[in-house]
Amino acid sequence: MKKKVLAVVLAAVMAMGLAACGSREDAKESKTGDEKTYTVGISQFAEHGSLDNCREGFIEGLKESGFEEGKNLKVEVKNAAADQGTAKQISDAFVSDKADLICGIATPSAQAAYNSAMNTDIPVIFTAVTDPKAAKLANEDGTPAGEVTGTSDELPIKKQLEMIHKVLPDAKKVGILYTTSEVNSVSAIKTYEKLAGDYGITIVTKGVSQTADISLAADEILSEVDCLTNLTDNTVVNSLATILDKANEKKIPVFASEVEQVKLGCVAAEGIDYIALGKQTGKMAAEVLKGEKKASEMKYETISEPGLYVNTKAAKDLGITLDEEFVKSAVESFDSISK
């Protein structure tokens, strides 16, 4: 009996705790005038800095195109906590709630959304999908596979290589750490290997299968290379602090793939600003919502304006002198390392 009471009390406490910290903002439908309120379901695959930025940018992009939350837009955000089955449940719920548009953030969520909406007329807009062709969200020629389009976060690899070559003209071996199970990383490495020769660079890669392997793999790769460059590989990026520690010890510069990594102490990145990518996606979604274009008529897009990000403090620590022009050309430069 005691246990039963305990169970009930436990349940109550937990529920209250959750309700308290949950403080969910229910998207309120406003009733200003006769204007139609659009419902957009955002299905995000996991909690992750870049993906969060994508989401924020997306909502901002919609706003800039005239769809504002609380006015004529209702946004429902769901997160699958990195579970594929849950991603499907989320997008199925959006379909059954008759959302006007579903936005899938990251490949598994985008695929789930496309799958759920396949036999409906609900358009799907994706973002943070590195290779929409491999994910079969787009045909080989880049045209949409159905009522689905969006933006790819494919890295501007050519620009990145150019930049590395400029900063470290003597660098011959560039190392890349990646997770063997991330399709995006594998395809990015292929591109790197294809282009590196043009700059007299050889790419050295080390694959890991889990976070626990990173430390060892970093030690190993750092003993062979002149510098490291990052992909948007989740496992690796999450352990960036470890990698930077080891690299700094050996005075080996690390180049980043996006702005957040530069803030953390990477020297520079010719990378993606996920907020900008999200905005671009939001604007595409707005076109579809307005009925100007159908999703199936729009090719997927890559980031229209990759930007250079520089961390002068990180460069100084490593004894690298950065060309003044170079620093000036950056979209943003940081003179401190955030911890």
Partner: protein, 293 residues
């Protein structure tokens, strides 16, 4: 409505996985972590076969056999190399990660445009019009029920009795002049066969193979088994395998409810709390039975 359909679909798919986990966890008393690898194994084989234009119905026996083979490997590691049960599963799970990656070629293989057991000319003819949205559910239900009935029938055969005996009292199996190791291997192979079968169906429902789909599969399976068996322990009309299937649907319903009413970040905590409550209630009942006896 559609959300109920999805919950049932996914609940039943994971229910087949839970049937496998029921064999290892409840019958064999073997905490088998192979599941995290054999579930995507079924998916990997299915995606590869379908992408190569093989008849989708063949993926069902193929993935069952592949899973069974994985189970045999875990069994051999445990029985012949005398590695502890938990570790044998971990070893096999780890090995399967690579095997799955190699089989599928990459970590994510979409099969959107291809035929599947749910989506082919024959199925579309049978389920025309308004029935189309129940197509997947009906197919999944049929497969889950067939799996359940076959498992029930099997557990009543001589071989099935022996399988139940080995988890209950392995010593008795030896007394009956049978090698308990072989019986365990058999059990593991059937269990992982079912798990891979679930993986195959999951892959076709999702229309994509994703390497990470196996992560945490064992947790879902265990949760389903424990929820089902605790809730229906004293309900005579519901036998254990049915209870396991229902347990899995309940688990998925909880996920759906958590998605609806809570922040996604809290989902795992809610699941854990629910789990704990069901366990505590289950324990209470056991005590009462003992007192009355």
């Amino acid at each position: 409505m559609a959300i109920f359909v999805t919950t049932l679909e996914q609940g039943l798919i994971y229910g087949i996985l839970a049937l496998g986990v029921y064999i290892t966890y409840k019958i064999l008393d073997f905490p088998d972590l192979t599941v995290d690898g054999s579930f995507p194994l079924g998916a990997a084989i299915t995606a590869t076969m379908i992408a190569n234009g093989v008849n989708p119905y063949l993926t069902i026996p193929a993935s069952f056999l592949a899973g069974a083979a994985a189970g045999v490997c875990t069994g051999l590691i445990h029985v012949k190399c005398k590695v502890r049960d938990l570790l044998s599963g971990i070893i096999m799970m780890t090995a399967l990660w690579t095997i799955n990656l190699r089989l599928a070629g990459t970590a994510n293989v979409p099969i959107f445009g291809d035929e599947s057991i749910f989506d082919n000319s024959w199925m579309n003819k049978v389920f025309g019009g308004g029935l189309a949205s129940y197509k997947v559910l009906v197919v999944v239900l049929v497969i889950a029920v067939i799996s359940k009935v076959l498992l029930d029938l099997y557990l009543k055969t001589k071989s099935g009795l022996l399988l139940r005996a080995v988890g209950d009292n392995a010593n008795l199996v030896t007394s009956l002049a049978k090698d308990q190791g072989n019986v365990k291997i058999l059990g593991l192979s059937i269990a992982n066969g079912l798990v891979a079968l679930a993986g195959s169906i999951f892959c076709q429902e999702q229309r994509v193979f994703e390497i990470s789909s196996g992560t945490g599969a064992i947790v879902i399976g265990l949760a389903s088994v424990i929820i089902g068996t605790s809730l229906f322990k004293n309900v005579r009309l519901v036998n254990t395998t049915t209870a396991v299937l229902i347990g899995s649907v309940i688990y998925k319903a909880c996920v759906a409810a958590a998605l609806k009413f809570f922040e996604p970040q809290d989902m795992k905590l809610i699941t854990a709390v629910l789990f704990l409550i069901i366990l505590i209630i289950g324990m209470d009942r056991k005590k009462k039975v003992k007192k009355n006896a």
